[in-house]
């Protein structure tokens, strides 16, 4: 079957914050770029980010990128790579100024500078006291940022492939990446998008969990494609559970609520975070707060008729502050919790939110894998940025606001690396004969399947399994059983049936193709979690309650082939700063 083929200098897969920032850099640099997105760009999940962008501008008091770096390393529970963390924190102010110059409607101080709010884990002078570092646009920072980046891309005349889904990576025998196969949803046709450089900015995969703040589209497509093409996935056991998802609905309530002065209560009205984090209290790192909440619920101090949630109190901030700084939260609480936070506290529970792991990358946005004795060989032509990448700036736990910083800094860094690579590697390499074989086999299987379980059934079971076996607290027996279960579910994924065989905008087919990606992410997460015999950041094991730097100060690498794990060292050496030595982590 002859497929149509289109050629570009660069293909960017994903049009969220990282993809759009990269696309802008490439388009303004005069390159031919194709940006492939399952949804219209402003519908990407960056749109749902609320609280802010972390950058040491120092608008509200003294701040320094070195303090931001310290907080990020400590937040990561020392699993983050210190060179990439230094790079991000140093570049962050520039990234925010750029965004402001593009027209981002940041909130302002009386003197006209960008307003910054306090956020969890961010401190002055190496952990001394909270600092205001989060640059925000009310509680709609992601929305404002995504629209601003899209608008700037309209100005740059970036070429978008809207409602196209990338299906598989094209690699040649040398391992070089030469583009992707992609499905145009409206027509059902498959095209090879040939590219001299390919950037994945495909976002997260929170949809492996039953209860998540993530959008339906967050299905780990980049990770699935990478895993099928032989690229390992890094640190997949580390999933962030955001302390404040609306109980029952999973919708995110920004940490900015606590930044602005809100706090958590248990059923007897006790401000319990004072017991768990005496210094930063409700503004401790997310893993710490989520674990404290889960402990309160487990020990019978949860609120509500079933004692299964906690209360986020913010009425004391007053309607003026709430309407000015947290208007979206008021709207969400009314709609999804039937509560007006101006009067009553919001019922919240820790909810799966962010994937610290991902496609292994370095601070230049290059995808790096072990190869021929080199633990970090840069795969020629392949780049990753944003949540789908593991750079690793977030290590075992991400600090609030650092995700948007990550998108901007590494979106741009990856694009800069691509420009350099393209200058050094002119011309397209030949596509291998079998470039589209894997994709066509997947589609043919779905077309031919005349009986079997529905994708919804199998996907729901995967989500329940992840929720039960790989949540906030992890237990050895549940993990071992979880690995068996998830492997069984993976087998079932290859036998699902879709009844809808239409060519036109077939969303059943899209969901089946997404499930192929989700299951790789779920399997990688469960196997990596079972493998890591320590507690660090968001990974908390009952049988190994402490961090173990002697044996486990290393990154996990999961390979789909053989469903096996390898490990590689953490970068302890920053680019220019001094190493931040591991120590006990308290807030």
């Amino acid at each position: 079957m002859a497929l149509s083929r289109r050629s570009f200098d660069a293909v960017v897969v994903g049009a969220g914050g990282a993809g759009l920032r990269a696309a802008l850099q490439l388009s303004e640099g005069g390159l031919s770029v194709a940006v492939v997105s399952k949804v219209f760009p402003t519908r990407s999940h960056t749109v749902a980010a609320q609280g802010g962008i972390g950058a040491a501008l120092g608008n509200m008091g003294e701040d320094s990128w070195l303090w931001h770096m310290y907080d990020t390393v400590k937040g990561s529970d020392w699993l983050g790579d210190q060179d990439t963390i230094e790079f991000m924190c140093r570049e962050a102010p520039k990234a925010v100024y750029e965004l402001e110059h593009y027209g981002m409607p940041f909130d302002r101080n009386e003197n006209g500078t960008v307003y910054q709010r306090p956020f969890g884990g961010h401190s002055q002078n190496f952990g001394e006291r909270p600092v205001q570092r989060s640059c925000c646009a009310a509680d709609r920072t992601g929305h404002a940022m995504l629209h601003t980046l899209y608008q700037r891309n309209v100005r740059a005349r970036t070429h978008f492939f809207v409602e196209w889904m990338a299906l598989d990576l094209v690699r040649d025998a040398s391992g070089q990446v030469l583009g992707v196969t992609a499905l145009e949803m409206e027509t059902g046709e498959v095209t090879i998008l040939q590219a001299r450089a390919t950037l994945f900015a495909t976002g997260g995969a929170g949809r492996i969990y039953a209860s998540t703040t993530n959008a339906f589209i967050n299905t780990g497509d980049g990770l699935g494609m990478a895993a099928r093409a032989g690229i390992p996935l890094e640190d997949m056991e580390f999933w962030q559970f955001h302390p404040t998802g609306v109980a029952g609905a999973g919708i995110l309530i920004t940490e900015g609520v606590r930044g602005e002065g809100g706090y958590l209560l248990n059923k007897s009205g006790e401000r319990f975070m004072e017991r768990y984090a005496p210094n930063l209290k409700d503004l401790a790192s997310r893993d710490v707060v989520s674990r404290a909440m889960a402990t309160e619920i487990k020990e019978g101090r949860g609120a509500g008729p079933h004692g299964d949630y906690l209360l986020l109190k913010l009425d004391h901030l007053g309607p003026e502050v709430i309407d000015k700084r947290l208007p979206g939260i008021r709207e969400i609480s009314k709609k999804f919790a039937n509560v007006d936070p101006v009067k009553d506290p919001v019922p919240v529970v820790p909810t799966a939110h962010y994937m610290m792991g991902g496609i292994p990358a370095n601070y230049l946005g290059e995808v790096v894998v072990p190869h021929g004795g080199n633990p970090e060989w840069a795969v020629p032509g392949f780049y990753a940025a944003g949540e789908c990448a593991c750079a690793s700036v977030h290590g075992a736990n991400r600090l609030g606001t650092n995700s948007l910083t990550d998108l901007l800094v590494f979106g741009k860094a990856a694009a800069d690396s691509i420009v350099k690579f393209l200058a050094e590697n002119p011309g397209h390499k030949d596509l291998p004969e079998d470039a589209a074989d894997r994709t066509l086999a997947r589609l043919a299987r779905l077309d031919a399947q005349k009986s079997g379980e529905s994708c919804a059934e199998v996907a729901n079971e995967m989500r329940r399994t992840m929720q039960l076996h790989c949540g906030v607290f992890r237990f050895p027996d549940l993990l071992a059983e979880g690995v068996k279960k998830i492997r069984g579910i993976a087998d079932r994924c290859s036998r699902t049936e879709i009844r809808d065989k239409s060519r036109v905008f077939n969303t059943a087919r899209i969901e089946a193709l997404e499930l192929d990606n989700l299951i790789e992410v779920a399997r990688a997460s469960m196997v990596s979690a079972e493998g890591r015999k320590e507690s660090r950041g968001a990974h908390d094991r009952a049988d190994h309650p402490n961090r173990d730097d002697v044996n486990w100060l290393k990154h996990s690498l999961w390979y789909k082939d053989g469903d096996r794990l390898e490990y590689k060292p953490v970068h302890m050496k920053p680019l220019t700063a001094r190493t931040i030595e591991p120590k006990v982590r308290t807030y």
Binding site: H101, G103, T113, Q151, E331, I498, D500, V504, A508
Partner: protein, 231 residues
């Protein structure tokens, strides 16, 4: 709960038809989108767009019992049965509840929806007072769901010539931005019998906006600025 949903797949149907569904809901199903996800589990051929499920991405706009809205923030308890669902009116239908939004985005793009400022950017942020920033409230929050433009009779009649409420709201967002230097050119561009002046203040846009924005007021402000500069 009972639903009547517009169905049309050009790959196999000669003409569109309304199909009835009866779904048993779970007590946790609060919003219309929850019910649609359940229906899709029964009948995987039902096609619709959806993503964030919290009213911020703008994907799942549709016509719900005769009124445009987002399925994810429409409470099931507020809906009269059978709930009648149709694609957004006035745009070409691709399949089922999915419309072709090309014309809508073309109009959005036509107003140059980006900050224009030819000065070299300063080393730090450009300064803007809190009062100047407040001018953007009620404007920048638009999610481009198209509920407003596709409820506007003027847009139905001239989708190729009338910018429509969504695009005009964004035009004013940039006119109102103290950092933008192109207000005058933006006004010139809109001074046209169709692009702006097809708005007859019918105000359907205001009634349907899921973010409670007010395009009619923004359009009024653009008209005021035009009058002001002509005297």
């Amino acid at each position: 709960m009972r639903f009547r949903i517009f169905r049309y797949d050009p790959d196999k149907d000669d003409r569109p038809a309304m199909r009835d569904y009866d779904v048993a809901l779970d007590p946790h199903d609060r919003m219309l989108l929850d019910a649609l996800v359940r229906i899709k589990e029964q009948d995987d051929s039902l096609s619709l767009r959806r993503s964030c499920r919290e009213g911020v991405c703008g994907s799942d706009a549709m016509n719900i019992n005769g009124k445009n809205g987002l399925a994810c923030v429409t409470k099931l308890a507020d809906l009269k049965e059978p709930v009648e669902l149709r694609p957004l009116p006035g745009l070409p239908i691709i399949r089922d509840l999915i419309v072709d939004m090309t014309q809508f985005f073309k109009q959005y793009h036509s107003i140059k929806p980006y900050l224009i400022n030819e000065d070299p950017p300063p080393e730090r942020e450009r300064l803007q007072s809190p009062e100047e920033r407040e001018e953007l409230d009620g404007l920048y929050e638009c999610i481009l769901c198209a509920c407003c433009s596709t409820s506007c009779p003027s847009f139905w009649w001239n989708p190729d010539k009338f910018v429509g409420p969504a695009g005009l709201l964004q035009a004013y967002r940039f006119i109102a931005d103290s950092r933008d230097q192109a207000a005058s050119a933006r006004l010139d561009d809109l001074e046209d019998p169709y692009r702006l002046f097809r708005c007859h203040s019918i105000m359907n846009c205001v009634e349907v906006c899921p973010k409670n924005l007010n395009p009619t007021r923004a359009i009024g402000k653009i008209k005021d600025l035009m009058v002001k500069r002509s005297v």
